[in-house]
Symmetry: C2
Subunit: 421 residues, 2 copies
């Protein structure tokens, strides 16, 4: 018997037929003797509908009231799943964010879970009652509703799993696991049985849509074993094939056990949500770069790849960097407002860019990964506009039109293609 | 300066354009220096959508989870109105049922308000902040969500008005007041400036859709002055023409003041939600009638008009009565299950019936009202199938097809027609 947190996303909760399918899966897990808590998203499209109302109300809508509005989506699905379970003879009840409560910091629309009171929850679960918990929502110290930011239900699930010390957090979604790359681009992409937290974190942060980045970080910090599964498989199947997300040590142990070798590269991700900004002819003196990035940081804009074209002669330099596309207009506004102060000439922007990343814990001990990447892309005439690296990731910025080509040639170059069927 | 509770129904909250219109009205009232609390319904159609999901989940859905699901509709509109007011420069915040809290009895899907904690609410209102409160919802002692039954937002508004000792409870709806009868049937129906609680209670209970019956009863008990207004009039108009619902004494005083005479009949209502049941050849002995109506009462089925055809000779009798159409199938099931025990021969049902009621406090001192009704209907060949009376109401059951005809001839017979334009 184990304690399991199951999480179902919006596609899995879209309509009563699918909710019944979710309930059948939960029932199957309960019947195996496990203690179960279920975290649910709103029906697919519902959060967009509610956010749409808020935007219609005012471009600068009040974030506290935004939270009241959008939290309703998960409230609805949690009630519906609980009543569907009861109708199937499975004892269940919904626990809304304020009822547990799920205590969050004071930050509307982008809250962080601080603490989940588990007394009543564990008592109910221990008595065999399934706890159905709306994802995405919490309560602040002042008693008002908060939400965790879009996609926050994954984070809710991991936070609940950590709080109840669950043996596993199963994330049911519309794909059946984590792949070496997007299977819609590369037909021979392979599903990964195992991936480490750090790899998943990098993959999620560069566009692999399977899990919210923050939820992976939280799972790593709290040591929550996460499994990604498909909610569209047979709900009564016992060993659904999914991807298990574990620590580096656990991965090593598993590899030893099965006498498998670690892959150099785990996956290739692409991200079309970046935009490039070039600030031209910035004075090449101490503090000049800080005068650009300081104000952007203050506005909570996440600057990613930075290149400074150092030109000693002219005592001026061009600074290139990327920001999320959604923040492009705001970034330009901020910088134009500081034109005199920074002393640049002009701002050039480009949204026709894509970030391609290769990720793998294996590259720590294999320094040739970046070189292979640059060479492979160069051979196909793909121009690299910027580069950024981390310990287990190399990312390059390229022309958006070349995204699919780049992903395919890299997938082959790193030996990730599945054997031909 | 007064303390005013404003209530807006689903049609007034259907979409952001209408919510903006509501906010404009609230702003206008705030700018006159009044302290304001607003009670809102869900968007028109939203509660039906949510109830539809519940019915799809299970015919016998769990009422506690039903409340969780359907309460979301008013949560959404309360947040949207609060953020719209803020965007218009009016300080406002939403107070959800569990935040105030609005304490209700332990009865899911049909709760009754027990107590509303007003400390924080009055402090906020006193500081000039508009309190936006979702109607229909409350919280039970065990901390779970409850709802007040369909149309419960009117009751929420009156309960809030009573709790904060409001000077007036303004119910904004899609009609501009209470009419002598349904203006869709009688073009010359007149809007009433004043109506007493008792009259409104009788009118609401027999099909006048303006206010929920329970809200009128509560207003009468708590002495809350209620005004019915149209939410589609110019939101900045000062004296919207509506109908004021007051006590009998207040009505008398107003009539004296304006030297007007009280009308004999205030209004004529029709109700197509009844069904007729005839239980034939019931043994004419003590306890026989109790054996029919006892079990129906136990099932919370509201039996209205009862006729017993006393036939001394045969020692058997036919019992005719009406129940709400929604409860017809359940009523028949219950009685068929007791066939042996009660000893009747068979059950005949008829849903092609309508109840027509004439209402007026004036009839207390004028005994001829019922006679006029019977004579007027007889003259047009309308057959009366059952009769019930109260102190200020006479109701008859007729063929549903004759509803409009009956309402029209009675409206004329009691002198209610407006002068020709």
């Amino acid at each position: 018997m184990a304690r399991i947190v199951m999480k179902f996303g919006g596609t899995s909760m879209a309509g009563m037929e699918r909710i019944r399918n979710v309930a059948a899966r939960v029932k199957h897990v309960v019947e195996q003797g496990h203690e179960v808590a279920v975290v649910v998203s709103a029906m697919a499209g519902e959060t967009d509908r509610l956010v749409g109302f808020c935007k219609e109300a005012s471009a600068l809508y009040d974030p506290a009231e935004y939270d009241v509005v959008v939290a309703a989506g998960e409230q609805i699905t949690s009630g519906l799943l609980a009543m569907t379970l009861k109708a199937m003879g499975v004892d269940a009840r919904s626990w809304l964010g304020w009822q547990l409560p799920i205590r969050t910091v004071e930050a509307h629309a982008k809250a962080r879970v601080e603490k989940i009171d588990t007394g009543a929850l564990l008592a109910a679960m221990g008595a065999g009652q399934v706890a159905v918990i709306p994802g995405f929502q919490g309560m602040m110290a002042d008693g008002r509703v908060s939400t965790l930011g879009r996609g926050g239900s994954d984070t809710s699930a991991v936070a609940v799993a950590a709080a109840v010390k669950a043996d596993r957090c199963d994330i049911y979604t519309d794909v059946d696991g984590v792949y070496t790359t997007d299977p819609r681009i590369v037909a021979r992409a392979r599903k990964l049985d195992l991936v480490t937290y750090e790899e998943m974190l990098e993959l999620a942060s560069v566009g692999a849509k399977v899990l919210q980045t923050r939820s992976v970080g939280l799972a790593m910090k709290e040591g929550v074993v996460v499994q990604v599964l498909s909610s569209f498989d047979d709900p009564t199947q016992d060993d659904l094939p999914g991807t298990l997300i574990v620590s580096d040590e656990e991965l090593e142990a598993k590899l030893k056990e099965t006498k498998m070798e670690r892959q150099l590269i785990t996956g290739i991700a692409h991200d079309k949500n970046e935009a490039k900004i070039i600030v031209t002819r910035v004075p090449d003196k101490p503090g000049a770069v800080a005068s650009i990035f300081g104000p952007l940081a203050d506005a909570a804009i996440n600057v990613d790849m930075i290149i400074q074209n150092d030109s000693k002669e002219k005592e001026e330099t061009d600074v290139t960097f990327t920001v999320p596309r959604a923040d492009l207009a705001r970034s330009v506004d901020i910088l134009e407002g500081l034109k005199e102060e920074i002393g640049f000439r002009r701002i050039i922007t480009d949204t026709q860019v894509a970030k391609i990343s290769v990720v793998g814990v294996g590259m720590r001990s294999h320094p040739g990964v970046a070189a292979t990447m640059f060479k492979t892309l160069a051979e196909r005439g793909i121009n690299i506009e910027a580069i950024s690296t981390s310990e287990i990731k190399v990312s390059v910025l390229i022309d958006e039109d070349e995204t699919e080509l780049a992903v395919r040639v890299l997938h082959t170059a790193y030996g990730l293609d599945a054997p031909a069927a």
